[in-house]
C-alpha cells in the first residue's frame, strides 16, 4: 500500500486520496508559488505514474514554470489548466452548456477536468435564455448526456430552463460575469440556488472544476 501522505514541508500531499475517492489530488495553483506547484505536480505524478494529474487556476508565470519542468505538460490558457500524464479511458459523457462568450474560461476548466476525471466531454456555448431558439436547437443533445454542467453569469437563468427540459442530473455553475448588482456572481449564485427546476445543484462562483468532478463521477458510473 502507498504511503498515505508525502510531507513537502509546505504541503502534505494526500497520495492516499485516489484510494479513498477514486481520483488523485488536484493542485489549486492560485495562491501557490510557481515552484510550489511544480513541486506538488512532480510528487503527484510520481505517486500516480499511470494516471493524469491536474492543476487548475494556472497563471502565466506558473504555466512557464510547468513548461520548463515538464516538456509534455498540456496547458489550456483559456481554462487555465495544466495536465500531466496519460488520460484515463473515457466512460460516459458530460455535456458542458454555457450561456455566453464570457463564460468560456469556466466552461473550459470544467471540460478539461471532466476529461481528466474519466469521461467524454462535449461543450455547447452561447445559448443564453434571451435567445431561446439557440437552446431549443440543441435540445436533443441534452438528453444524451449522463450529466450536465450548466455555466452562466448575470441572472443565471439557464440552469432553470435546461432543468425544465431534461431529467439528466444537472450541476449549475454561476460565473462572475456581470457588473453592478451582479456582485461578482452573487446574483447568478442566488438564482441557481432558488431554481424552480427540481434537482438543480450548485457549486461556488466560477468553480468549473468542482462541477466537473461531480459530473464526471456521475457519468463514469452511469449505465
Amino acid at each position: 500500500m502507498q504511503d498515505p501522505l508525502i510531507d513537502l514541508g509546505f504541503a502534505r500531499v494526500d497520495t492516499h486520496r485516489a484510494q479513498r475517492t477514486g481520483d488523485p489530488e488536484v493542485v489549486f495553483a492560485q495562491g501557490k508559488s510557481p515552484d510550489q506547484t511544480v513541486h506538488i505536480m512532480t510528487t503527484l505524478q510520481q505517486a500516480h505514474p499511470d494516471r493524469a494529474v491536474l492543476a487548475t487556476r494556472v497563471d502565466d508565470r506558473t504555466s512557464r514554470a510547468l513548461q520548463d519542468s515538464f516538456a509534455e505538460v498540456r496547458l489550456d490558457p483559456v481554462g487555465r489548466t495544466a495536465v500531466l500524464g496519460p488520460l484515463p479511458k473515457a466512460v460516459g459523457q458530460v455535456l458542458v452548456v454555457c450561456a455566453g462568450t464570457s463564460d468560456l474560461p469556466v466552461a473550459a476548466e470544467a471540460a478539461t477536468t471532466a476529461r481528466v476525471f474519466g469521461t467524454e466531454v462535449d461543450t455547447i456555448s452561447d445559448v443564453g435564455v434571451a435567445g431561446l431558439h439557440r437552446l431549443l436547437a440543441v435540445r436533443e443533445h441534452l438528453d444524451q448526456a449522463n450529466a450536465l454542467v450548466v455555466v452562466a453569469g448575470m441572472e443565471g437563468a439557464l440552469p432553470s430552463v435546461v432543468g425544465g427540459l431534461t431529467g439528466v442530473p444537472l450541476v449549475a455553475v454561476p460565473t462572475s460575469v456581470g457588473y453592478g448588482a451582479s456582485f461578482g456572481g452573487l446574483a447568478a449564485l442566488l438564482a441557481m440556488l432558488n431554481s424552480c427546476a427540481p434537482g438543480v445543484t450548485v457549486v461556488n462562483i466560477d468553480n468549473g472544476f468542482g462541477a466537473a468532478v461531480h459530473a464526471a463521477r456521475i457519468a463514469r458510473n452511469a449505465r
Copy 2:
C-alpha cells in the same frame, strides 16, 4: 384651480398630483390605521369625484372599515386593493404574466392598478420557466400588449425569457415567494436587475402597484 393639498393633520393629501402626473394620489394602507385610510379615501374621492381612487395593501380590518364607510367600494382580497368611484375609459392594454400560483396576489395588485390607471388588463398565470411550453403556448399574446408586467419569485428568470421573445416594454416584479437563500425576494430582484434581455426594468419586491403604474402610463399613451 384646485387647492394643491388638504391638511388632515396626520397627512397632507396631495390633491394637486393628478394635475402634475395625470393620476390622483393612491393610499398605501399598510402602516396606516383603518380610520386614517378611510379619511384619506374620503378626501381623495371628494377631490376627484369623476375618477376612481385606489388603496393598496388593504388588510382585513381596513377592508371592513372601508365597507362600513363606502357601500360601493370594490375590494379584492387576493390583491388586497380597494377601489372607489368610476373607472376611467381604458386605452391600450397591459398584460400581466406571472410565474407561479403563489405570485397571484402581486399579479392581482398589478391588474387592478393598471385598470384604475386607465388601461385594459389581461393576466396569464403559472407560466414558469421550468415548463417552457406553457409560455411558448401564449407567445402571440405577448406581442399584442402595449406593455408587460412580468411577475416571478424564486430565481426570477421569467422576465429574461419573455424579454428575449418580444420587444414590448417590460417591467419585472420580483416577489417574496421562496425560502432560504431567496432572502425574501432578494434573489429574484438581483436576477431581474442582471437580466441578459435588453430593456428589462425592475421595481421593488412585491411592488405590483408600481410596475402597473409604469405600464399603464406606457399603454394608455401608445399608438
Copy 3:
C-alpha cells in the same frame, strides 16, 4: 400523447413533465391554500395513475385536507410530505447523512423524495464533526451508496469531511439550524459552497427535496 398541461385557473399543471424529465411535477404546498394543493394533487394523480405523486412543505391544515380527500395518502409529519399512489420500483441507493437531531426534518424530506423518485434510501443521523468517531464508525456505508445527500446546519462542515472520505457523488444541504451569525442557514450554505473536498454540490437552505431529486436521478441510473 398526453395533454401537455391542464389549466386549473390558478395553476397550469405541467402534465408533460414526466415525459420530458422522467418524473411527474411535485406540489410545493407552502404558499398554496389546502384546497389548491388538494386540487393539484387530484389532477396529478389522474394524469399519473401508476406513479406516486408527492407534495412537500405540507403543514397541519393541508395535511388534514389531504386526509379528508384521499384516504390512502401517506403523510410524514416530520418531513412534512404527502405521497399518493404506488411507489416506483427502487433502483440504486441514496444515503442521507445528517449532522444533528435538529436537521432530521430536512433529512426526512430528502428520504421520502428519493424513494418517490425511484431509489432505495437509507438515513444515518447525528454524525456531526465534533465527534468524528460517530462518522468514522459508519464509513463503510458511505462507499456503498450510489449518491449521498449530506445535511448539516450551523457551520456546515460535514460535507467536506464526508467528501474527503469517499468519491461517491455528494449533494450538500445546508439547514437553517443555528442562531445569531448563522443568519438562517447562510453560514452553512457558504461553507458548503467553499468546500475543499472536490465535487461537493449544494442546494438551497433546507431544500432536502431538491438534493434528493438530484441524488435519485444519479442512483437510479448507476451501474
Copy 4:
C-alpha cells in the same frame, strides 16, 4: 427569412432578434477580446446592412481595433459606445436627466443607445436635488418627453423628485458614483427601488444601455 443564428465558434450571433424584438443584438464588449468584438460587429452589420448596430463598454483597445476595421465607426469615448451603419428614423423623444458631472458617462451611454434604438434624445445634466432650482428651471422639458431616463449616484434621490413632478414614464439608473457606504452604487439602487413616487422603474447599476432600450421602445411607440 433570415438564418436565426450564425455560429462564430465563440459566439452564436442571434440574427433573428430584430424579427422577434424589433432591434438587432447589441455587443457588450466588456469581457470580450477586441477581435471578438470586431468579429461580432462584422456579422451583425452584414445581417442588418440598413440598420445601425451598437457596441457598449468599448475600452481603448477595442476602440482602436474597431477604427482599424471600420473607417466609418462612430466612437464616443465618454459613453464608451461604438456605432456602425445608418441610424433609424427618430420617432418620439427620450429625455436623459442626470444628477452630477460624474454621472455623465452613464448618461452618454443611454443617449447613444436611445438614438440607435430609434428615438430623438436630449440630455439635461447636473440637476442634483441639493440645488432644486436647477431642476425646477427645466421642469417644462420633462413633460414634453415620451419617456425619461433619470441617472443618479450617491443617495439616488433624483428619480423620486422627478417622478413627483411629472407622469411621463420614468426609468431610474443608479450609478456607482460615490464612496464608502454607497457600496458601489448599492445605496442609489436601493433608494430608487424604494421610491415613493409611483411608477419609477429601475435597472442595474451603471446600466444606461438597458434604461435607454426600455425608454426608446416606449417613445417610438407613443402617440
Copy 5:
C-alpha cells in the same frame, strides 16, 4: 457632590451623567421588564427632582405599570414615551420634519425628547419629496429653527432636499417604513449616509431619540 452611580443589582444607574453631559440618563425600556423600568425611573427622579426624566420605547404593559406607580406620568402612545417631573425651560428651537404619515411615531419620539432636553419643538409632517410643493410651502420655517430633525423611510430622500434648501444643522433619521428592498430601513439609512447635501448627519434606524438629543444640544446653545 452626588453619588456617581446607584447599584440596583440589575442596573448601575449613572446618576453622575447630568454633571458630565448636562442631562440625566434616559431609560430605554425595550428589553426591560415593566418593574425594572419603574425602578430605574424612581431612582432617576429621586436623583433629579427638579428635572424631567424620560423613558423611551414604552410598550402598553410598561405604560400601565408607570401609570400605577406615578400618577403624574405623561405618556405618549404614538411616540411611546413617558415623562416624569418638571420640564426644563425651553431655549432655542428644534424643528422635526417628517416625510410620511407612517413616520409619525419616530417624529413624536424626537419631539418629546427634544422638549425634555430643553428646547422648543415644532413638527411638520407628510412633506415627502414626491409632492415638493408641500415642502416648498413650509420652506421659511426651516431657516427659523436652530436645528432640524428630518425623518423619512422608504428611499430617504427628504434630508437631501431639505439640506439643499437651508444651512441649519440637520440630523437625518431613517425609519423602518417600507417593504421588500427597504430591508427594514437599510435603504433609507444608506441614502442618508450618501446624501449629496453637505453636512447631513445620520442616526440609527427609527432613532428619533438620538437625533433629538443631538439637535436639542445644538439648539439650546445657539445664539
Copy 6:
C-alpha cells in the same frame, strides 16, 4: 472503557467526549422537543453520574418537562439553563462582565456554564462604556480573574476598553440587544472582531455558553 456513543435513534449521544475533551456533551435544547431533551439528559447523567450535566436554551415547556422528570434539576429562567448532578470542584476564576441590563440573560448562561465546566465565576453588570467610571470602579477585579467573558450588545465597544486595561485572556460575546442597524447583533459582532485591543477573541451572537467553555478551560488550568 466507556462505550463511545449511545444511539437513541434521533441522537447519537457522544459519551466519549469527556475522555477526549475533559467535559461531557451539553444539550442545546433549542430545536429539540422537551421529550428529546429529557431523554438525552437521562443518558448523559447515567454516563456521567459524578459530574454535572448541562442543558442550554431551555424554554418554559422544556423546563417543566425537566422538572417532572428530575426533582433535583436546577433551572435558571434568566439564563435558560438546566443543571443535573454534582458540580465539579471549582479551580481558578472566570469573571463575566456585561455592558447593560438587557445583556443579563447571556451573562447568566455564561456564568452557569463556567461553573459547570469547573471554575469559580463572578459577574459584574451594567458597566457600559457611556459611563466609564462604572468600569474604572471595578478595574482591580479584572486583573484578579484568570479569564474574562465580556458581554455587550449595540456597538459592542466594551471588550476593546476592557482589553486595553488588562492582559487577562478575554472572550467577547456580542448580544442581539439593539435595533435597526444592529441587525440582530451583527454590529456588535463586527466591532468585536475589529477590536484594536490585542488578543480579544469572539464567539457567536448571544453565545454565552461557548465563551464560558473557553474561559473555564483557561481558568481551571491556570497557575
Copy 7:
C-alpha cells in the same frame, strides 16, 4: 441678486448656494478631471471673491493642475484638500479627535473644512480606546469645544466613549482603516450608528468633510 447657476456644459455651478445655506458650493474632485476641477474652482472664486472656496479629494494630478492655475492655492497632501481665497473670520471652535495614526487623512480633511466653513479648529490624534489614559488626559479639552468630530476606524468605539464623557454635540466619522471583517469601514459605521452614548450622529465612511460642515455650522452659531 446673483445668477442662481452658471452652466459650464459639464456642470451647473450652484452659485446661489451661499445665499440659501450660508456657504459656497464645494468641489468633490474625485471622479472629475483636473481640468473640470480647475474650471469649477475658477467659477466659484469669481462668484465668491471675498470667501474661501474648497476642493476635497484632490489627487496628485489635480493638485498640480490647481498649482499651475492658481499660484496662491493652499494644498494639504495629507487631507487632500485645496483652498483658494480669504478664510472667513473664525467663530466658535470645533475639536477633531481621532483614534489612530491611520485616521489622520480623514481628520485633516475635517480640520481644513471646518476652518473654511468659519470656525477655529483643533485636533487631538491617536487617543484610541485601547489606551484610555491617552483620552482621559485630554478630557478637559472636550468640554471647551462647541462641537466635536470624532474619527475612528476598526471597531469605531471612540465616539461612544467620548459621548459618555461630555455633552458637546458630537459627529462620528467611521474610517475605512481596518481589514478583513471591517469590510471597508462598515464595522465602524455600524458601531457608531448603534452607539449607547445618546446624541452621537454619524456620516459616511471617510467623510471628514461632511462631519466638519455640520460641526462648523453648530460652532459658528453657538453662544
Copy 8:
C-alpha cells in the same frame, strides 16, 4: 514609573501598556509610512530595552527601512513580521495548526507573535479536513499544547474538527484564502463562529497576530 505615553506628533506611543497588560504595544505597520514605523519601533525599543518589540504587516518597503535603521532586526517575509530586541523566556506552548499551504503567511504571523509574547510555538501545516488522516496522524500533538491556534480559509471547517478531538483552549483564525462565495474570508469566519465544537473562539479574518496574543497569554500562565 515610566511615562505613560510618548507623543511623536503623528502617534501617542502607549509606553504604559506593558504595565497594564504585561506586553508592550505592537506596531501594525499597514497604513503607516516606513518612516513612521521606524520611528515608533525606535521609541518602543527605548522604552522596553530588555524585551522584544514587534511590528506586523511589514511590506517590502518598510522591511528595507527597518533593515537600514536596525542591523539586528529579524524579518520574516512570509509572515510579514519584524522583531527587535531579546525574546522573553518561553513559558508553556502554543500549537499553530493550519489547513492549507496558502494559509501559511497567517500561521507564520501567529507563530512569531506567540514567541514574542513569551511562549514556545510549534506549527503543523496542511492538515485540511478533506484528508482527515493527515490530522489524525498528529492528534497526540494537540493535547500536549496549552493553547491552539487553528488557521483555515475556504469553508473553515478545521477548528470544528480539532475542537471535537481535544479540550485544549482553541482560537480559530479564518483566512481570506478562497474565491467567489468565500467573500474574502467571510465564509470561513461565519463557519467558525457557528462551530458545533464547544469553546471555539474566533478572531478577525487573517488576524494571526490577535489569535497568538490570546493563545500566548493562556499558555504562559498555564500549569
